[in-house]
Amino acid sequence: MYRYDAYDQRNVDERVAQFRDQTHRYLAGELSEDEYRPLRLQNGLYIQRQAPMLRIAIPYGNLSSTQLRKLAAITRKYDKGYGHFSTRQNLQLNWPALENVPEILAELATVQMHAIQTSGNCIRNVTSDPFAGVAGDEIIDPRPWCEILRQWSSFHPEFTHLPRKFKIAVNGAEHDRAVIQAHDIGLDLVKNAEGAIGFRVLVGGGLGRTPVIGKEISPFVPWQHLLTYCESILRVYNRHGRRDNLYKARIKILVNALGIEEFRRQVEEEWIHHKDGPGTLTVDEVHRIADHFDDPAYATLPADDLGFEQKRVENKPFAAWVKRNVRSHKQPGYAAVVLSLKKTGVAPGDITAEQMDLVADWADAHAFGELRVTHEQNLVLADVKKSDLFALWQKARDAGLATPNIGLLTDIICCPGGDFCNLANAKSIPIAEAIQRRFDDLDYLYDIGELELNISGCMNACGHHHVGHIGVLGVDKNGSEWYQVTIGGDQGNDAAIGKVIGRAFAAAEMPDVIAKLIETYIDNRHEDERFVDTVRRIGLDPFKTRVYGEQQTQRKVVNG
């Protein structure tokens, strides 16, 4: 992974000093609440329901064991001994004291970490594929490009007060695992007919109040021009994006208002002035950064490991875990392991300090000291020898991190919701838990197969509900908490926005509603058809009939 040079370190150290001074001035009454707010947000600091919330950047989800141990120590010293991995591959602390935040940032800087631009109306943490560098379907490793974008976007003087937040995602594989179609800029690494590397660029995607799938602005921007092209998009957006209405300020609204052709024309017109200028990337710089992402020193191993195969035959729970939580790897004899943070009874994405320390140890013992965070809120040890899998599974199981449910209904993506978040309409964590409890039968879960269930506590869609095969959205009706359900959403290459099935439900109804959706699927599915495929084939009606038809009588009871 990327290691800082003296300049990177200087930048984060100077940021700590700057924020320390800003916080000092705020506490001394020299900075007003309104003036301090954007400054603290650009350092990931929110003032939440219970306490401040600090969002720590995990650039494109890459972490070292040293960094994870530091995070564990920070949660012990300044928080309640746990953290929450978000859907943007970051880590959130729910209970730090505002006065301590400069100190937390200083500690983070000692392990090359920060909270820069994890919130606010600026370019946010770039996100990417958690299997980058190891996936069999990878065309080009996205990580060096993410790092190039990270550096370019950090404290960009022209883009510190954009109309609204701005998210960039990069994919380099055949199957997009970075949801690039739902980002302000989605970058797809491609090779052209001559074999040159470049980017297919999407713009104006996003979830939130107005979910939109990104539109292609360019089929191929040669790699040298990545930054000047992005800069041109950002300048057009900074100048012309709406600032009169918070809900219409994202770039997707501008792109839709102008139309993609006109937006493209404006960007290209701007780009003429930047293209081939000093912002053009150099071979040397790309190599310098790419060197950090060279393969680790893999051992030469046979593709199959006999001991591993044998354990798999002998031990059913291990076999189930391998089936769900272990992914193939480009290197013979290796595998990528997903550690599930979706154990029933634990808020999705939550992890304790003890678990962090353990995962750091496993990363050192089995995975070259590195790990990744997924946007589905799980962890990945990307380079594990197959011969180590059984031992790793035993440790993970003992630590509660081996729930064999990756990609299944109970691997729920869920935002912090009403328990923590100020903006929430409704709680989301208890809904996730109730659904997990309802579907606690593993065989049934496996029979249902691949299913993405995403929950957001409000329109801001941090839980990516629009792109869940089943999406649940917390809504407020006359001051009480209700839940609207969508089906048919999808992420990846066939990204789609789910459709609302009908009126919203009370919390207590939710497990039944999900059960009915699943039953409808099971009754109608063809062989090898996932839930979302069935929805696409038969449409919403059979699901609606099942959910609402049978519910009329029950509803009377619910509503008294």
Binding site: R3, Y4, D5, A6, Y7, D8, Q9, R10, N11, E14, R15, A17, Q18, D21, Q22, E30, L31, E35, P38, L39, Q112, N121, Q151, W152, S154, F155, H156, P157, E158, F159, T160, H161, L162, P163, L227, R235, N238, R239, R243, H273, P278, G279, T282, D284, E285, R288
Partner: protein, 177 residues
């Protein structure tokens, strides 16, 4: 007299900024005596009287004003100001960068409006050489201390108006921290 940060130093300043009231008509606005900075609409509506006072009248742009509109006037302007109605309105950074790079403006470029110290370095990197904090926002002593914010970051990554090349072209990178 108002305080101004010019090229990194605090100086006194006698330019007067004129705003146009909501119902005010640009052509009717009476220009006060002395050195005044008028809104773009007034600049465009009163070309003749302004020409008669060359060197005394400057123009300020709002975030929504396209700097391309004053390109022909740049040589005659004693200074150009860009107004930040709210410090969170970032359009003026792009306007400044455009004036400096695309339109080749080399005269005084002044940030006015909600000009706060935590924006100072972004301002200068986008090409402002004059920063005029809102009246009474800072005491003299606070303003002295605020100068430190001009140097918050000593090795920025990006190119900008002041650093014409990105860090990777300016420095040999990769040496361990």
């Amino acid at each position: 007299m108002a305080k101004l940060i010019k090229n990194g130093r605090i100086v006194s300043d006698d330019w007067q900024i004129v705003l146009l009231g909501e119902d005010g008509r640009a052509e009717d606005l009476a220009l006060p005596a002395g050195k005044v900075i008028v809104p773009l609409s007034v600049w465009q509506a009163q070309r003749e009287p302004i020409a008669a006072r060359q060197g005394e009248i400057a123009v300020w742009l709002d975030g929504s004003d396209d700097p391309a509109q004053i390109v022909a006037d740049l040589a005659a302007l004693p200074l150009v100001a860009i107004r930040f109605p709210k410090f969170t309105d970032g359009r003026g950074y792009s306007s400044a960068a455009l004036l400096r790079t695309r339109y080749g403006y080399t005269g005084e470029l002044r940030a006015i409006g909600e000009v706060l110290r935590d924006q100072f370095q972004a301002f200068t990197r986008c090409g402002f050489d004059a920063l005029q904090p809102a009246q009474d926002r800072y005491t003299d002593e606070q303003l002295e201390r605020a100068l430190a914010s001009l140097g918050d970051f000593s090795a920025p990554y990006q190119r900008s108006v002041t650093e014409t090349e990105p860090l990777f072209r300016r420095q040999q990178r990769g040496l361990a921290a």
